[in-house]
Symmetry: C2
Subunit: 238 residues, 2 copies
């Protein structure tokens, strides 16, 4: 039996009861070493299999092997296991041959939105700017379509060493389509003790503050500041 467990944004209090219970009760916990660290306090007698970035396929294969040898296994995923997480890979590699349960969690956009205010009260999309497995043209085409139809846009994986400028290119494209009154929120380490937020007019974003742990939320035409928070009104008459 394999559980693919979304542990939420990082802080234990944003983990669901089911996620915690399963991690505590399984025989084996498998995960990226940085995420294993986040759930360390739940580990007692479980076997732990961890490795580094880009070791996803190896981790999932190991999890399946343990499961086929009769162990219960939790594959750890940050945020929600089903959102750019490990759920798909486990199901692909298992190919319908194993009993798999996906345990949902709080995804990064929800955690980020919560500390920025309420930017996701209207239709929005998730776009990952990682081009490791998706051509950048296809990604930018999605950015364009989303901006043109006035979606709020959440960027996952906004920046890494190999692609430092995509987020700036994407936001410039949105600015050209939507105008310069659009708001951009950065949520760094949302849901962890060191969380911080920054909100800018779209032409004033400080791109140096964006890294891999940042969720970038670009508002739609209705998004506005209320106090020091970013809110996309749902449309109630008040």
């Amino acid at each position: 039996m394999i559980y693919v467990v979304g542990i939420g944004p990082g802080n234990a209090e944003h983990m669901t009861h089911r996620a915690k219970k399963i991690i505590k009760e399984v025989d084996v916990v498998v995960g990226y070493k940085v995420y294993i660290k986040l759930i360390e306090s739940l580990l007692t007698t479980q076997i732990v299999e961890s490795n580094g970035m880009r070791g996803e396929v190896e981790r999932c294969k190991k999890a399946i092997e343990y499961s086929r040898n009769g162990k219960t296994v939790a594959v750890i995923s940050s945020g929600d296991a089903g959102v750019y997480g490990m759920a798909g890979l486990v199901l692909e590699l298992s190919d319908g041959q194993d009993h798999v349960e996906v345990v949902p969690g709080v995804t990064a956009s929800s955690a980020g939105a919560a500390i920025l205010g309420a930017p996701l009260m209207h239709d929005y999309c998730h776009i990952s700017l990682s081009d490791l497995m998706t051509p950048i043209d296809k990604i930018m085409n999605r950015v364009k379509a989303a901006a043109t139809s006035d979606f709020v846009i959440c960027f996952y994986n906004p920046k890494s060493h190999g692609r430092p400028d995509y987020i700036k290119q994407a936001i410039n494209m949105i600015s050209e389509i939507q105008g310069d009154d659009i708001l951009v929120g950065l949520a760094k380490d949302a849901g962890r003790d060191e969380e911080e937020t920054h909100i800018y007019k779209i032409d004033e974003v400080n791109y140096d503050l964006i890294d891999m742990t940042t969720i970038v939320i670009v508002g739609n035409k209705g998004t506005r500041m209320i106090g020091n928070l970013m809110v996309t009104p749902r449309g109630y008459e008040l």
Copy 2:
């Protein structure tokens, strides 16, 4: 102090530790009566203020009033409070004058995706088909843009008595753009004891099974069946 609390999809085990702790500790709990029922087991001495559908503005005003009278208040929202939930309305009505914390939860698309397989492993969007506060033309324009750029699409509020046919119109439009190999998953009451799923080829959807508690997830061109589950591969070479 006002907490806007996402209680997750319904079952207590999918609630976060922070959500549960806050509901237990506040002086006043405010919510739609159906959601109050879902958290009944956490209620002891709290004052409870509940009302019916479309009573959102009244509920939020009451919450703010209690808070200004020195009480701690939890405004309950299903799923994630920041996704088509109560967070925006509380912040709008409070207008920067109150201390508000948004407590994120597991949103309905994450809960639905978890029981359908892993359809949200690639870029996706959320579209609400409720036209109470958004013109239907604007909504359908978003559907078209999302399909044209090959997003996975999650429909919230897919159907109600006043608008029974929007979901069919939207899915027909996607079928015309994306072709008839696209998969459509229905997740009903995801994250509750009575949850059920149905997965169809796009031209074979049984629309009678869709109601207000259903999340409808339309795959992208890469989404495929693995065993009896719906998976959108992230793109790993296996």
